[in-house]
Chain length 221, copies 2
């Protein structure tokens, strides 16, 4: 179990604090707004009203003793988000996660030593674009812009055919679609052979560009 | 291929429009701010400056002919978001996705007939809570209980070593960890060779059981 400090209780921070607390971690939630603190009282171990840009307060709260600090100030507070991150870094916090409002903000956070930058709206948008839009895609993990890993229910037209017959036996990257694994029933196997037959109920784990992913429903016909 | 209309080009809407367009869908992007339209020109089929709360304009743009309309106005524009959703519903748009700024907003959107409500900050926070807390794991896609695909920042001890030297050259499944791809800078490549050297800034896409994933920080030492 970890000691986690969450600074900023907007939607991202409040949800994160709650989820971590439910998972059994020790959570200190900090926000400058008393109303936010009141809402968070049963969703964190401690909830403290404080201005996180005040280094003396952060020292008093011993935040450098925490395993992870999360700076979840949002687009209304970009400068504070950067300042708080700089302070936490200088206090020697071992791992800092910060949420960015845009690319420039994120780049700045990385430059000041934040260990992990999160872009909630972009991540969610990328997922939304694939899950429910591309035929059969039921989950999606972006890797770089335009390329990611999808969990895919194979279209009807693929069932009973081999990977090679359906054009899915390629090595992927820019050349098409690579089936990295197949989940079948309760088990899964990696690097399926090109003569592997696709069965009803299979879930294909594929790496593909957005363009190729979009074409999968056509492949089946 | 679908006909999709995206209303509101904040971070969520702009990313969603771009991702859908890259996937081959026809995308009409609408925003009241000309600067947002200029940015979106090569990331959508058409980008039109318009006030989406103006029903006459939406009719002129034939949005009821679209397969899906997405209302991605944010916390700055909650009332407009609700009004636009009501208008789209009354125009008979077959499927409406709307992004909500908070629970009350989301509940209202559902009451006026939105088909799918997205909460980007909450979704991202939930993933961050579960995924950001195993050493180096920055994303996770479960395949079966106890086995999944993770995006992993390699620990310090791995840098400068090959996949084989760090014990990551296996074929995975129940026998270890399989590195399916490496993201390096803005590009990525699949099925890296066992003599591939791990560099600072790399992101490894690995398939592994939870147990092996947990041991990765030990592997490095
Ligand atoms: N200096 C500060 N110290 C502590 N908390 C702060 C400080 N400045 C702002 N906050 C708090 O940070 C929280 C989130 O800030 P902000 O309004 O910028 O984000 P948001 O866009 O609402 O976030 P989200 O998108 O997660 O809902 C607010 O609850 C605010 O009270
Ligand atoms: N009536 C309207 N018609 C069309 N576009 C609008 C209207 N009102 C606002 N917008 C646009 O919607 C976009 C997003 O709005 P808003 O600022 O509320 O969200 P945001 O919080 O910035 O979104 P995100 O979190 O996705 O970055 C802006 O680009 C804005 O210009």
């Amino acid at each position: 179990k970890k000691q986690v400090c969450v600074i900023g209780l907007g939607r991202f921070g409040a949800t994160l604090s709650h989820e971590l607390y439910q998972s059994g971690h020790d959570v200190l939630a900090i926000d400058i707004d008393e109303a936010k603190i009141q809402d968070q009282l049963d969703r964190a171990t401690y909830a403290v009203r404080a201005d996180a840009t005040n280094e003396a307060i952060l020292k008093e709260l011993d935040v450098s003793e925490y395993d992870v600090c999360i700076v979840s100030l949002g687009s209304e507070n970009i400068q504070s988000s950067i300042l708080v991150s700089v302070i936490l870094k200088s206090m020697g916090v071992p791992f800092i996660i910060a949420r960015a409002a845009n690319e420039l903000h994120g780049a700045t956070l990385e430059r000041v030593g934040v260990d992990r930058v999160v872009y909630p709206e972009s991540e969610s948008a990328r997922r939304t674009a694939h899950v429910g839009f591309d035929a059969g895609v039921i989950d999606y993990m972006p890797i770089v812009p335009d390329f990611g890993i999808s969990k895919l229910r194979p279209p009807e037209g693929m069932l009973g055919h081999t990977l090679e017959e359906t054009g899915l036996a390629g090595t992927g990257d820019r050349h098409g679609i690579s089936v990295l694994a197949i989940r079948r029933g309760r088990t899964s196997f990696l690097h399926p052979a090109k003569d592997e037959e696709i069965k009803a109920g299979d879930v294909l784990i594929v790496a593909a560009t957005n363009e190729h992913l979009g074409k999968i429903s056509e492949i089946a016909n």
